[in-house]
């Protein structure tokens, strides 16, 4: 405490110099804190936007049914669970679609009416699959605009027939492509048809009544992770507590990609700011060396009246660290002020930037380390002076 006071005094003895020395640290800290706070602030608002698009659904794949296959009836039962909302199977196959001589490869999804809401799809015309279609194994399909344009030639083709692997299906609805949902992003350009699950069972050899892949939405007012936990419990119960029998995920691919991009960006910017902090540290070392030389006589006096090596070392080390930490605090304060200023400028966009607590912590720790590392050499130089030489320095 006492040495801390002494350090403050010798720093305040030369305010201008202390200020200039600290400037290096201040700028370094500001670069670090402001940049990282801006990136993380921007990330938060972009991520929010992304998860608005977001598929807030859980996808489940069954690899080993242990003699208890999941069927359409099982899904019906599960839909009664309090935490779970709609559940839709998604069997898929690739078939050849044909219409009046035009043909192309089409991805067919066999599903139920629930799929529309679970996946948050948008019809541009016609209707979606109905439960009667399912019961009757009707040969009806909903296709996307791409498929309509490619195969039939125009997009308002409700009522037309489309042959899928030689079986005639009536087109009952068209899905709009210009929907910004995640599925649309990934399936753009491909031809897609949705047909009743029961119809796909007849059409495709690989699809049976045993459902291997389905999507689950959380119940209204229930969080996705709560739903996921419930789903997981149900699956464990069904598959003899074998976690390897299925896989369950609710991760949003886009969010993952975003977060990996922004964490790279954060590290990159943080690294650059870190370099400027190190440069600031060199400034501290430089000024501490000057201070030690200037105060050689004082060091001699202190040693003559009984200061040990350690005492002198600590004194100058604390001085360097205090100088660094003062710069750090000022830097953090100025960063905060700067972010407030940015906030008022961008207020209209609805973005808000706050100090990122993590980076403030990092800045404080880093400044402390810089103070120690760059203070050590000058402090050691002071500590190992011979008392007699130091006393006679400069007269």
């Amino acid at each position: 405490m006492l040495s801390f006071k002494m350090a403050l005094r010798s720093i305040s003895a030369n305010k201008m110099r202390a200020m200039l020395t600290m400037l290096g640290i201040i700028i370094g800290v500001m670069a670090l804190v402001v940049l990282v706070s801006l990136v993380s602030g921007a990330t938060t608002s972009v991520t929010d936007a992304v998860s608005d698009l977001g598929s807030s659904l859980i996808s489940v794949t069954v690899s080993d049914d242990k003699g208890a296959p999941v069927t359409l009836e099982t899904l019906e039962e599960w839909m009664d669970e309090e935490e779970l909302g709609l559940i839709a199977p998604a069997a898929t196959d690739s078939v050849t679609g044909k219409h009046e001589g035009e043909y192309d490869s089409v991805t067919v999804y066999g599903t139920t009416p629930a799929y529309y809401e679970v996946q948050d799809l948008q019809l541009s015309m016609g209707r979606w699959l109905k439960s009667t279609d399912l019961d009757n194994h009707s040969y009806v399909c909903v296709i996307n605009e791409t498929a309509a344009a490619e195969l039939i030639g125009y997009t308002d083709c409700v009522g037309q027939t489309l042959s899928l692997d030689g079986v005639e299906f009536t087109v009952v609805g068209i899905l709009s492509d210009d929907d910004d949902s995640l599925t649309a992003v990934f399936s753009s350009g491909s031809l897609v048809a949705y047909i009743p699950y029961t119809s796909l069972m007849r059409l495709s050899d690989s699809v049976t009544g045993e459902i291997t892949s389905f999507y689950v939405a959380a119940a209204e007012g229930s969080a996705l992770d709560v739903a996921e936990a419930r789903m997981e419990a149900l699956l464990l119960e069904r598959f003899e507590e074998d976690e390897d029998a299925y896989s369950i995920s609710s991760q949003d691919v886009l969010e993952d990609a975003m977060s990996s991009i922004t964490s790279t960006l954060t590290i990159l910017l943080g690294g650059i700011a870190g370099i400027s902090l190190v440069v600031g540290g060199i400034g501290i070392m430089n000024i501490m060396l000057v201070t030690v030389t200037e105060r050689t006589r004082e060091i001699g006096i202190r040693k003559a009246i009984g200061a040990s090596r350690g005492t002198i070392l600590t004194q100058f080390l604390i001085e360097a660290v205090v100088l660094c930490m003062m710069g750090c605090c000022l830097g953090i304060f100025l960063s905060w002020a700067m972010l407030q200023a940015v906030n008022t400028v961008v207020a209209s966009t609805g973005m808000a930037f706050g100090l990122n607590g993590g980076v403030v912590m990092i800045a404080v720790v880093f400044c402390f380390l810089i103070g120690v590392v760059f203070g050590l050499y000058p402090a050691n130089k002071a500590a190992k002076m011979k008392p007699i030489d130091a006393l006679h320095y400069g007269g």
């Binding site: 005094r9 202190r302 090596r309 007699i388 006393l391």
Partner: protein, 223 residues
């Protein structure tokens, strides 16, 4: 108290080898008041620095209170300086940015004395040199004699057995000189061992014993 035997100290300046101390032998007993006189450049300060553990001899042995100083490490020497020795320099050597009382307090801080006791002992030391009213002044705000008294207060605040003074009156007028010497007489009367360097015969005479040094050799003289 002090036992120097064949102590030598050389300085290599370019080609020349200066013998600052040449087989100096000196015994000083506890509670003695010894003055050391000699012409400029005779090695007085060199001797004093060795006695005060600020410097180490190149040859010979030095026992301080029975302790073999030449075998001590740097930190042990710092301890010895802190606890056993009070140093008064010709040029005062106060730390300019600390006030009188802070300068006096410093050796106690290095001893690790508690704050309350420190304040009490600083006050007492300043009172003994008659400066209690100037406690808050910076060295630059004090006269030479006052500064030297602060330096003496700093030397005695730890109650050292040995007080070393290297020309403490060299920069002072004769009246102030006498005031300072009176303080040393007081300290001597209280049982301290005092070694005083001077080139002033009048001052030297006031000591109980006088030692003469010339070209690094020590001879005892009666005045």
């Amino acid at each position: 108290m002090i036992e120097l035997k064949d102590v030598c100290k050389f300085y290599q300046v370019g080609e020349d080898r200066v013998r600052a101390l040449d087989h100096a032998c000196l015994h000083i007993y506890p509670h003695e008041f010894v003055s050391i006189i000699g012409p400029s450049g005779s090695g007085k300060s060199t001797l004093m620095n060795i006695i005060g553990c600020l410097d180490v001899a190149d040859a010979g042995s030095y026992l301080l209170d029975g302790l073999p100083i030449e075998q001590y490490s740097e930190n042990q020497l710092a301890q010895v300086r802190n606890h056993k020795i009070g140093f008064v320099f010709q040029s005062f050597n106060l730390i300019p940015k600390l006030s009188a009382e802070e300068n006096v307090e410093l050796p106690l801080i290095y001893q690790g004395v508690k704050r309350a006791e420190r304040q009490q002992r600083v006050k007492e030391a300043l009172r003994r040199v008659g400066l209690e009213k100037r406690a808050k002044h910076l060295p630059t705000e004090l006269s030479g004699g006052q500064q030297q008294r602060v330096a003496i207060a700093r030397a005695i605040v730890t109650n050292p057995k040995l007080i070393l003074a290297d020309e403490p009156t060299g920069a002072l007028d004769s009246k102030t000189t006498q005031e300072i010497i009176d303080i040393f007489h007081d300290l001597h009367a209280q049982g301290n061992t005092i070694v005083l360097i001077t080139h002033d015969n009048d001052v030297a005479k006031q000591a109980s014993r006088s030692v003469h040094i010339l070209d690094g050799r020590i001879t005892e003289v009666k005045l």
